[in-house]
């Protein structure tokens, strides 16, 4: 089966600019996740969708980050305006279950953001 697709793989922007990342999950996976992985740290959940509804966005910096999954399939994560501390890899993942079970998350290759 096709994996989780993400684009772009790399993005370099200046602070205060905006950026958007796209994710297409595995077909049939109801739950989609965006994680932020800062260099040297473990991934941190930003937002979790089940179909097109938000399940958890408690760690999303809502003053600058937004995400949507309008048709319950692919998703976009946007940062506007970017700060230096947003430099990280943004990982998208998907899973079959509702998000509270034992199903495995399948991750995409990630989008690496550098903010100058």
């Amino acid at each position: 089966e096709a994996g989780v697709a993400q684009s772009p793989r790399y993005k370099i922007i200046e602070k205060r600019q905006s950026v958007a990342f796209w994710c297409n999950p595995i077909s049939g996976h109801a739950t989609l996740y965006w994680y932020q992985q800062i260099l040297g740290q473990g991934p941190k959940l930003l937002i979790q969708f089940q179909n097109n509804g938000v399940v958890d966005d408690s760690q999303l910096p809502k003053d600058r980050f937004s995400a949507e999954r309008l048709k319950g399939v692919d998703s976009t994560l946007k940062i506007q305006p970017a700060k230096l501390e947003d430099s990280a890899v943004y990982l998208c993942a998907s899973s079959l279950d509702s998000g509270a079970g034992a199903n495995v998350l399948t991750f995409g290759a990630g989008s690496r953001l550098t903010v100058l």
């Binding site: 473990g42 993942a93 079970g101 034992a102 998350l105 290759a109």
Partner: protein, 110 residues
Amino acid sequence: AQSVAQPEDQVNVAEGNPLTVKCTYSVSGNPYLFWYVQYPNRGLQFLLKYITGDNLVKGSYGFEAEFNKSQTSFHLKKPSALVSDSALYFCAVRPHMLTFGGGTRLMVKP
């Protein structure tokens, strides 16, 4: 709140020797525990998981992990390390959101 701790930033082991990467967790209720591996410029890849049952779980590439409820630990092990096992390893816990530890870099030297 649930959390995961990986006390070692880096583990060094010689090829052919056994390896252990440590993980402890804190969660209310019964945990679902996972190990993922990350190679350079790649996403996280699933290695193995514990849900219930046998405390020794076998996974991909010869890895296994031992669940210890009394010590709230889920250490990753392999009887004989390979140079190609060198990577970043993450322990993670559910239910609720999947929460990751900070990662342990495994370096296997020839």
